[in-house]
Amino acid sequence: MTEKKIQVINRLGLHARPAALLVQKASRFQSEIRLVKDEYELNAKSIMSVMMLAAEMGSFITIKAWGEDEVQAVEEIAKLFLEKFGED
């Protein structure tokens, strides 16, 4: 398992557009990918799950992945967050 903790830094948090980018990115990997925030752990390949994660700006999320491409998956998803999903 690979995991990485990141912070949501785009002003609007994980609203629909970033959620879509995240799900599209996650779906390109074979690994099972989950997002963990507080006590919630949700499937990164489901947009409803991602939107239900109350990930506002400043909150911390751990990305976890299990599978052959887990390292790359975690890294590329973390990058989306750090690039603020191209927003702001």
Partner: protein, 589 residues
Amino acid sequence: MKNQKKNRIWLGISASPGIAIGKVYRLNRAEINIREENLSSDQVENEILRFEKALNEAKIEISKLKESVAKKLGPEHAKLFEAYLLILEDEFINQQVLSGIREEKKNAEFVYNRVVQKTIQTISLSRDEYLKERVADISAVSNRVLNRLLGIKQHTIEPLETPGIIVAHSLAPGDVVQMKKGNVLGFATDTGGKTSHVALLAKSFGFPAVVGLKTFFSSLKGGEMLILDGDEGEVILSPDEITLKSYEAKREKLLERKRSLADLTSLPAETKDKRKIELSANIELLSDVDTAIENGAQGIGLFRTEYLYLASSDLPGEEEQYQAYSFLARKVYPQNVIIRTFDMGGDKFVQDAERVYEANPFLGWRAIRACLDLPDFFKTQLRAILKASSLGNLSIMLPMISGLEELLKSKELLEEVKSELREKKVPFDEKIKLGIMIEIPSAALEADSLAQHCDFFSIGTNDLIQYTLAVDRTNERIAHLYQSFHPSILKLIKKTVEDGHKNNIWVGMCGEMATDPKATSFLVGLGIDELSTSPLAIPQIKKIIRSIEFEEARNLAEQAMKLDDSKDIEKFLDEDYQRKFSHENSART
């Protein structure tokens, strides 16, 4: 004859700027009523087919919207509708619906609505306004599916026959896409917030809009005269003649202002008496550079390279850095790009084992201090910058210099890298400029000697204020002590500019003060040569520069320097700014 009260003002939330004046077009929508029905076992598979058909039809509709938005506004804006398609395809919802229909033998709309409502409830628990917006997104999608299942004709916004303002209880992003510019002058809704997708789309399409008007919609009959003020976030129902006239004037003024700001991009940032100020942009991401250029930046006054690290989660290697720097150099050429070397805590540069807890990271091992301790790491960055410098438009800037020793040591390393490159015959700009940030009080006090060893200064006000006043502005209990216009700060800025000029080097500013319109005249008056601001602030700052005289600004700066209380100084500068520019900001008469 109207028996309504004139000039009834409703306060809402500004969603998209601009003024619209016209007749109310009331957009009425059928309520969605969902009944719970029991199915017999042989109806179940049919019900599932019905559900899937509704999903598919909704998908086709949304795909069409997506195409239309991509064509009109560009693929970036179409992303929202991609999210909508993903919502329709989401297994999390759909599996629950399918098993609900199968196991409970209930009708599709009932089960679907229940699943969606449950999700919406979970999200609504969030206190964050931005996050609540997601409820609107899910409703926008689920309403389409429900309408299909219930056989309600999909509401579309029919083209208005005469120009008017659309008023609805709520609107979905898809509705805004369907609005035709020309007859739709703007829109107002009871629901929605400032950052809703509806608001963002309204801005992109240029529709003035006010949202969050609560019960406005139900108070209307339709056809009333309405003023919609998207700047103030209010609407005025049945305005009288005088109000109408003043808003028509305001609308004209806003249009004119918009035109003149657009004209500004190509004009130089110079005072009326032709003193030129280099007006450039601070950027973090490579993608910010387009916004900077669009807004008329004369180059990049600060590229924060630590974002390269943040974006890749590993230390960016020489090649990755080289790619980024040469991309910028090419993109901005012939204008200049100032690349600031890594400005972050040293713990990011080393292995976990070497990390040490710091009680005061802002007074700790960071920026140039860490770079000088890790010369190989620092030289990699310098090498990448030099290799990308062949076009001759890159400069290097060192953060957090506290005194001469750090500057000289950095120069030594830079010279080492240069001679290595020469040996290997790698081309680079031999005349590359090296500047330093003035953001530590000791550096401002030592500006005279520092200026003899570098090519430019850029004042970083955020840190300068924090270190001079010993205030961490993120600490709410003392945030009021963070005073940008504290006389000590102004003195340090003045000294930096004077000492720089005495040694024939230029002095700029890339801190937040450079973006503050109140400070512009003062800074120009002190003789600042360059201001590097956030990309979006450039037109406004340029406008101020172009409307002042250097002499007049010098007087202002002189007056301000005589005051000894930060509140008085701020008030003095603000009054001057308001006197000259307030009519620009609020065209209200």
